[in-house]
Amino acid sequence: MSAVADMNTEKALVRASSLNVRPEVWVPLVLLIGTLGYPFFLLITSAFNVGDPEVFPARSYGFANFVKLADHLDWIKNTLIVAGGGTVLGITIGVSLAWIIHRTTMPGRKWFDLLIAIPYPLGPLVGALAWSQLGAPRDGLINRFFTAVTGIQTPLIDIYTPLGIIFTEAIFEAPVAVLIIGAAMQRMDPALEECSAIFGSGKLRTAWKVTLPLMMPAILSAALFMFTSMIGSFAIPTMLGTSSRFYVSTNAMYVLLQGYPPNYPLAAALGFVLIAMTAIAVWLVQRVLRGRSYAVISGKNYRPRQVNMGWLTWVLFALTILYVLLSLILPMGTLLLASFQNSNAINFDFASWTLRNYKYVMFDFPTTQQAIVNSLILGVGTGTIGVIFATFIAIATHRSKSDGRRLLEQVTMLPQAFPRLIFAIGFLWMILTLPIKLYGTLLAVLLAYVIVFLPLAYRGMSGVVVQIDKALEEAARVSGAGAARIARTVTLPLLRPGLLATWALLFMVSVREISASLFLSGTNTQVLGPAIFSFWDSGGMPRVSALAVVQALIILVALTVVRVMANRGVKV
């Protein structure tokens, strides 16, 4: 090559490396940074506010709030105990169930796959409510049953303890782990395990020494998701911990903010610490996962190897049934029972059972009626807008040639570092300071939901977009189709199954949400989560249980519809 040619290439190289950020990247980037950054900024200014707590933005700054936090380190310690313990337990359950369902020959696997997925969208609020009636030391159903059978007076379990909280958190978050780890297990190259078998490793040993380590990236990913979720968990600690003097950051924050005057700065400082903890967790996991070659998941579709565990299969079967019992059958059964009662205590006198509570929550009591309607609207809205937005970003990050794509992806996933309760507070302050009349509207709640659930939506859509061979779109381009036509005739039809699944997921999580809407919903904008919570505060067990059952039914219907549509073969 001639020297002149070399120089020309060099010059061209310099020219080409200038920054080129296209609108499909910077527009969502700016929007997201605005709607995340502004609340965060308000939170920070409040956390450092040492003057009048109700002045926005603060006028005098200092570290006094953090110093005060040092007196309450047990809040943070308890948060870590619950989140850490819950994650360990949840991952153990998740890995075991994922392995049992996807890698063994246990009978009924398909059914269990379905049943195990249900507790998650039902949600921690419903779960806490149910378990408070199952595991209360005196009159919890399990303890009553135990005493009736054995005659022993001391209760078998006490759900109002840190262990009880960890347990409840774990069983209701485990389905996510099963999903993430299960997906990885299905794509694993069976040759890796077969090799272990050839060298004489027994089945359990292979599972422990080969399968498990290879699943590490998926396990870590699921663990991170669980951990960050549990750090910000509100419903379970509040319902099971507060009355037994056990405070984690979220229920402590709740009391701080309910009083008069509300202690915004301390709550914000606490929130800040939570965000920092979450961010550290995310960073740690990313570091561990980076640079490890886990070449188990390739583009090829493997038929995963099913292992016949022999007589152990029945043990596994029992374990799986136990999980379904604890996470679905017992809780829903208890809520049903409680919803038919006339008084706060559950009795089995069939004659006294009534449907009155359902009539009350669905027809007589305007607040709950409204809450049901609003939650449905919100669910549809969150699903639709969330999916559209997430798809747009997914296509931009995976197909655009612009610079800044990785930044966009990271910013999109950023909301998962904000415990939802805290983000909602910052969001509330943000809309209070905005000139637009957003405050007190359902739209405000909708926007908050779209943002907090964006990582979930993006994760779903990005997974689907990545699977679409780029060549399919390139072939359309070469055939003469412009961007709009390609989107309409190639991209969107191929995305359809993913669109549906993601929409359904968003619908369900938004119906069961409480943390993000607790402070945002108002007179005309009551939604189910806060309504159930407020009802729990003042309404009596039978009615709360009825409302919780209604919420659960909505979610179950959505889940069923999606499954049916998926099974009827929505074309790939």
């Binding site: 109700e54 309450h72 009159d139 009083g259 008069y260 009591f365 209070l432």
Partner: protein, 359 residues
Amino acid sequence: MMKDRKNSGLKLNRRQLMLAGSAAAMSFAMPHVVSRAYAEASAPGNVDAAKAEGPVVVWHGDQEADVVEYLKIFTEKTGVPAVQQRLLPGQALPKLEAEFRAGQTTGDLYLTSDSGIMENLRQQNRLLRYVPADMDAYGPEYRSSEPGYWTTYYVNVGPMMYDPRYVQESEAPKTWTDLLDPKWKGQIGFQNSAAGTSYGFWFVLKDILPKDYWDNLGANNPRAYSSSTQISQDIERGGLKIGGRVSIFQYVKAIRHKQPVKAVFPPLGVPSVNQATGIFSTTKRPNGAKIFTNFMLSKEGQTIWNNIQGSYSARKDVQVEYLPDINTLKLLLPLDFKEYKNPENRRQFVAVWNKMTGL
């Protein structure tokens, strides 16, 4: 300058004359002005105008079911529609801030257990003054010092409570000091520091009980609940032995449910708070708000409301079943509003109460 001073002693300064004149004029006019303001404040709401205004919005911290039931009857009787929203102060106040700044409130009436908050609102000129027809039925301790800004729509008396199925009557506490007995460790329930009634409890007892009472009580690990309904529920289910302070209507409701509960009214005094009702000055529905207030404070309204809830009215002519005669009780109400509103006291309360309940 020099000239003026020389002359000032001899003639009446024009300015002084004018001032004297207007002062004289004012001293004649003042009562007239005052009574005119009073007269305006007493003008009742117009029913037709109220109906045109749309449903009047009531913010409260009470039992939602009770308020809904009451509003239904209210609408039946007056023809004015109404909706409610249950908001604890922590949620209500930021809303109020924003709305006042915008000059419009979505809420029309505020019903709260914290008369200190009401006083603050009055000082900030955020309450509309309306003197209902029955103002005289309310003693001065049950209303704002200048009548018409806020009035007590029920007296939230706070006894102790227990269920004799789980606690022997002979063993049950009779006085506040009995709560310090270690046999109640971990078995006493209060509402958390966010509750106005908790503040009231501490405020009236802090100067009567020894200074170290709260630390000692804290050593007994009392549990904090977010509502007295929960305390009552836990007592019924056997999960809590003593309600350190419950709202009186919990007691009445429990009895109505055939629960064998007992309430304890210590002779030293039973902390009580005024549950106050007031109208926001920026209300869009002044007519509806006035009609609501008028009805709520009337004998009919008070009878209906307190019977629904099971609580004491501030009026002497309202009776509710199962309530012990109010004359046999020594009620401790916060009377020094200046101290009651004082943010220093509040801060101290929050610190003491949180420490006591393990937050």
